[in-house]
């Protein structure tokens, strides 16, 4: 059989395969450069960038859970200036496709980040993180803690960022909602080119010997294989009502996991904390997806998106 085509288009971004990495689990790309050639990824998604560097939460910040982990990093990141000056050159030199994940405290901050990244060539697409469970929106004194929990605010934020940039814009959503379709549709109405889901699920772990929470933040975000079925279901729910593509993630460890997301309706996928366990996990997922296509006689991987058989 001829080599299958793994090319996809994610809301205006051409990717040589459907696999990127999840923000916060791959640093700024160079960190994994000694394990494999990171330009083989469909795209590199960088850690959430904020206007100013952030020191993050106090330790302990991570706690292991069954087939997964909780984290409460609090978006420790170098900030956009250091990213542009020190981190970006590596990614550009390697000819990587870059999805820059952004985090702000107001729609205007997101817009400013988007504008700067576009103007200074810092990204090929943007993923706005409206769903980090570990930081507080300073201006939000009532209502849900996360922007992604309010469809109205998702729409407002998306519109403001949309107006600021012509780069492909993805909105990253939280699974901590009753119905994922509502924020997903709000992002679409606001002008997003794709939605990315899921961010981590809120969770808690307690050390019974000391009776203390395992994280200084008390609660954190759950990720890893444990959350995969939840994520696949949310992709399935969202993809059926959207006209824009879905970037699916949550617990992907193997190629079969990634294929599940495509079948449920995702156009592309992100490998997250699996990279902590296997630094080359994303590369193995790409290889395994190619093998799957060959085994099933699929010439174009795009044919798998939403190809779930119901009978």
């Amino acid at each position: 059989m001829t080599e299958p085509s793994l090319h996809i288009n994610l809301g205006g971004l051409a990717m040589k395969n459907p696999v990127t990495v999840a923000s916060g689990t791959f640093g700024y790309g160079s960190e994994y450069g000694h394990y494999f050639d990171v330009s083989l990824l469909g795209a590199v998604t960088v850690k959430s960038l904020s206007l100013k560097p952030r020191p993050g939460n106090r330790p302990p910040r991570i706690s292991e859970t069954p087939a997964g982990m909780l984290n409460a990093i609090g978006l420790q990141n170098v900030g956009i200036d250091v990213y542009l000056k020190e981190k970006l050159p590596y990614l550009r030199e390697k000819n990587c496709t870059i999805i820059a994940n952004i985090y702000g405290y107001s729609p205007e901050e997101y817009a400013e980040l988007a504008q700067r990244l576009e103007k200074e060539g810092g990204a090929d697409a943007l993923e706005a993180n409206l769903s980090c469970p570990n930081v507080h929106d300073a201006k939000n004194t009532c209502g849900p803690a996360l922007v992604a929990q309010s469809p109205q605010r998702v729409k407002e934020y998306t519109e403001t960022i949309r107006a600021a940039t012509s780069l492909p814009l993805y909105i990253k959503l939280s699974p901590n909602v009753a119905d994922i379709r509502e924020p997903a549709l709000a992002a679409q109405e606001g002008g997003a080119d794709a939605v990315a889901l899921i961010n981590t699920l809120l969770g808690m772990n307690i050390d019974v010997e000391t009776r203390k929470p395992c994280l200084s933040n008390i609660v954190g975000g759950l990720s890893g294989p444990a959350i995969r079925p939840v994520a696949v279901k949310m992709v399935w729910d969202a993809a059926r009502v959207l006209n824009i593509p879905v970037l699916g993630m949550g617990g992907i460890y193997t190629a079969d996991d990634a294929i599940q997301f495509l079948l449920a309706g995702a156009t592309a996928v992100a490998v997250g904390c699996a990279s902590f366990r296997r630094p080359d996990a994303a590369l193995q997922v790409i290889r395994g997806m190619r093998d799957y296509c060959i085994r099933h006689g699929i010439e174009d991987i795009q044919k798998l998106t939403g190809a779930l058989r119901l009978q």
Binding site: P55, E64, G68, M69, N71, S216, G224, C273, F276, P279
Partner: protein
């Protein structure tokens, strides 16, 4: 250079109650390790436990290296079941090991419990760099878990034992034993063990004008500077150095840079 290798198990023997030494075939890792560096081991090939386990590289050089470990939970219990001939996936060497500035007159190693693991390798490096065997304080809860004593005596290091229950050597804590050795401003102390012990060792060093390098522990996910999960708070003023990664900037730090009592107010 950091490697990701399937290493064949050469042996995995008990060395003291609840403590084992896992010897692994892995020339690339053995050759590239410096004293005080660590590796991330898969304690099981499956998804449970999900994360790798950080372990100091104890012996290295030649074709193999070892880790000395204490069984405390699920991951180390599974490690304890591994048989010679099995393979274990290892990522390493990771982090920055001990540094050996030459201007000191005395070098004292203080190891508590399983924290002794990286110190025989350090003693060897000190002998190579300074020509003199360092003094060694070995602390443990009781005599049956004082580890690596023969390694140090073989290198002609003066060894001072101290146990919590007085079953061997001095009755007391590592910091008491260090104080009795009268460290001064020409002394460099290296320490690895429980945080509470290292905090006490740090204080004795500050009181006596000595310098101290401490090898810290923290929960880790990636072990390689990516997840920002393993940070400790520092005394450094610059905003961005307030939190440093044990796996990347450490695990060995100048003890003055660490905020030993973490009762400081939360910030975000």
């Amino acid at each position: 250079m950091i490697h990701l290798l399937d290493c064949k198990v050469l042996s995995n023997d008990e060395v003291a109650p609840g403590h084992r030494r896992l010897v692994l075939d892995g020339k690339a890792i053995a050759e590239d390790t410096c004293a005080g560096q660590f590796c991330m081991l898969e304690s099981s090939p499956g998804l449970q436990p999900f994360l790798r386990r950080p372990m100091s590289i104890e012996r290295f050089g030649g074709d193999s290296f070892s880790v000395l470990y204490k069984i405390v939970g699920e991951g180390t219990r599974l490690l304890g079941r591994i048989q010679p001939g099995d393979t274990v996936n290892v990522q390493g060497p990771l982090g920055n090991g001990f540094s050996i500035p030459k201007e000191f007159k005395r070098y004292i190693l203080v190891g508590g419990g399983i924290g002794i693991a990286p110190l025989p390798g350090l003693a060897q490096a000190l002998i190579r760099e300074t020509g003199t065997p360092p003094e060694v304080i070995l602390a443990a809860r009781s005599r049956d878990i004082l580890l690596c004593q023969e390694d140090f005596t073989r290198m002609n290091c003066p060894v001072f034992l101290v146990t919590d229950d007085g079953s061997a050597g001095m009755h007391g804590f590592a910091s008491n034993a260090l104080e009795a050795r009268k460290p001064d401003k020409n002394t460099l102390v290296y320490t690895c063990g429980p945080m509470i012990m290292m905090g006490a060792v740090h204080r004795i060093c500050m009181e006596n004008g000595s310098r101290c390098q401490a090898s810290l522990e923290a929960n880790m996910a990636c072990g390689d500077g990516v997840c920002m999960g393993c940070v400790v708070e520092t005394t450094l003023q610059e905003e961005f150095r307030r939190m440093v990664r044990v796996c990347h900037e450490g695990p060995v730090f100048d003890s003055r840079d660490i905020r030993w009592n973490t009762g400081t107010p939360a910030h975000d």
